[in-house]
């Protein structure tokens, strides 16, 4: 079913009909113009139906119970795992369901802490996961807090040192600095694939090669990339990638971790309890294999099934087509914003490959006020620091206004944004 013809012209009007929320009115009976998909995407009817169908017809505990419904629910849950795993070209057992991408990244960071602590108290663990004071963890300056704070915390608990790759004026990693930042003490390199603020795309091959040259683990925050472009895990050279379901047309409450079989084998459990064990006595327990080793407790099965439907929906459109459509919208948006006097765009503005998340400022106006006037016209954009405060410091701004697109946005949405910005300037009399 996968549509790989990159030249296909998508019927966006038809796609929009699949998303019931797009037909509702918002403030002042205005049509909703949703430009905040980098925060969370809207859901097509097939996803809502898949989730409802789970509750209406097969709801029961998965991986427990030998009765008919439990079998159906378990099958549906594991089938969703197969669909999502194939989407990023991994085996189903390489895919761990979590609550969200933040939890996926915490799973990784806690694996190092747990291994380090367990080793200290006599448990046999893989030495590559043990951190010693003075070991180094490398991130970048454009990380979302989710790929920064867990590593800061890990440093505080192990004595490791956090380093970061700076960003350039254009908002991309300053690759020339990597060589001086990476050394045999570097144990972990974790960077985002695409900035959730600036839309800039990281040269993963380059960073991954540097990480591997010193034997470090290489992780990727793929929250903004997997929903918007084709991503093949095997081609990234990463040990693990984390992303979330709700940003790719799926339900809230389900996140993902894809990892190499080796890493999943050596990492100790993160959250422990039921479903992740083999044998339990009052003295000790042994653990089952990945992915279930990392899925303690009753899993969000309906959410997994909903996400499976979302992935099938994206596969029918074809990720190349999604990416090309968004490239088109990004170009319209960036060119349009460039042509409005008094607008400053943050991040790449030339024709290089970039994501459809565009941050900007209206000179002299606070983003909160910008967002409020746009909202009055039915236009939903994000304002604030986008959970990436260090980028704000680098840009020397307090916050930005951010517009981001997805497959259901069309040229008229971008036009509405550009006209809306003119209206913002008029409203505050600053032009």
């Amino acid at each position: 079913m996968t549509n790989t013809d990159s030249k296909i012209k998508l019927d966006i009007k038809k796609i929009q009909l699949d998303f019931p929320i797009l037909s509702r009115e918002v403030r002042n009976n205005r049509k909703l113009i949703y430009l905040d998909s980098a925060a969370t995407s809207q859901k097509p009817q097939v996803v809502i139906d898949a989730q409802n169908n789970f509750y209406e017809t097969i709801n029961s505990g998965v991986h427990r119970g030998a009765y008919y419904l439990a079998e159906l629910a378990t099958d549906a849950h594991e089938h969703a795992r197969e669909i999502i795993a194939s989407f990023v070209n991994i085996k189903p057992d390489q895919l761990v369901f979590t609550k969200n991408a933040t939890e996926s990244l915490n799973l990784l960071s806690y694996s190092f802490l747990n291994a380090t602590l367990k080793a200290k108290y006599g448990t046999d663990v893989d030495k590559r996961l043990i951190l010693n004071p003075g070991d180094e963890i490398l991130v970048s300056e454009l990380e979302h807090h989710a790929n920064l704070v867990p590593w800061q915390e890990l440093c505080l608990k192990t004595g490791a040192i956090l380093k970061w790759i700076p960003i350039t004026e254009q908002g991309i990693l300053d690759y020339s600095k990597i060589e001086s930042l990476i050394n045999p003490k570097t144990k972990i390199v974790s960077v985002s694939h695409m900035s959730n603020v600036l839309g800039s795309i990281t040269d993963i091959a380059l960073v991954g090669k540097a990480a591997k040259s010193v034997g470090a683990f290489f992780f990727i925050d793929a929250c903004q990339s997997v929903p918007h472009m084709p991503v093949d895990f095997s081609k990234l050279g990463a040990d693990a990638i984390a992303w979330s379901g709700h940003k790719m047309l799926g339900p809230l409450g389900i996140g993902l971790l894809a990892a190499t079989e080796e890493l999943l084998e050596i990492m100790p459990p993160f959250i422990s309890g039921g479903s992740m064990i083999e044998t339990v006595s009052m003295q000790k327990s042994t653990f089952t294999k990945a992915p279930k080793k990392f899925e303690a407790g009753t899993p969000p099965a309906a959410e997994a099934v909903g996400l499976g439907a979302a992935v099938e929906y994206l596969q029918k459109i074809g990720m190349e087509n999604v990416h090309n459509h968004e490239r088109h919208l990004t170009k319209l948006m960036v060119e349009g914003l460039k042509n409005i006097e008094g607008v400053t765009i943050y991040g790449p503005t030339d024709d290089q490959d970039r994501g459809s998340t565009v941050s900007f400022a209206l000179n002299g106006l606070h983003p909160h006020d910008v967002g409020q006037v746009l909202d009055d016209m039915g236009i939903a954009v994000r304002v604030g620091n986008h959970c990436a405060r260090p980028i704000m410091d680098k840009l020397k701004v307090q916050s930005t206004t951010r517009a981001s697109t997805y497959i259901y946005n069309d040229d008229s949405d971008i036009q509405a944004l550009l006209e809306g910005i003119d209206e913002v300037f008029r409203f505050f009399g600053s032009k």
């Binding site: 006020d369 409020q372 009055d376 620091n385 307090q398 916050s399 409203f427």
Partner: protein, 148 residues
Amino acid sequence: MQLSNMYQEVILDHYKTPRGKGLQSPFGGEAHHVNPTCGDEITVRVLLSDDGKTIKKISYDSTGCSISQASASIMFEQVDGKSIDEFDKASNEFLAMMQSKGNFEPNEDLLGDGISMIGVAQYPARIKCALLSWMAAKDAIIRANGDK
């Protein structure tokens, strides 16, 4: 346009020409408050009378949206030189107004230009912007009294 309920002329005026902005010394208590979602920040300083019952001087410095900036300016006008009792009454009245969803008859004697913020109460995402300066002032007063 409904939006003009929020952005009343008097608010935009305080935003464009803020009253009393700039930190002053000496002071007895200082508080720094941040709205983590939008990054708005304010520092408020207060100097109390020896008996701790009067705000001899209040000063502030802040960055943020029009609502938070205008609110700080209005707060300064209303409470500078007033008694703690008057501050508490004004601050409670302002909080009640902001939590009212707009169904409120604000007391102009207590709030002055602050009554113009009633429109903001209809926008839940902006209530914190309006409250930021008042909450910081409250904290600064508590700290100033704690040092006595």
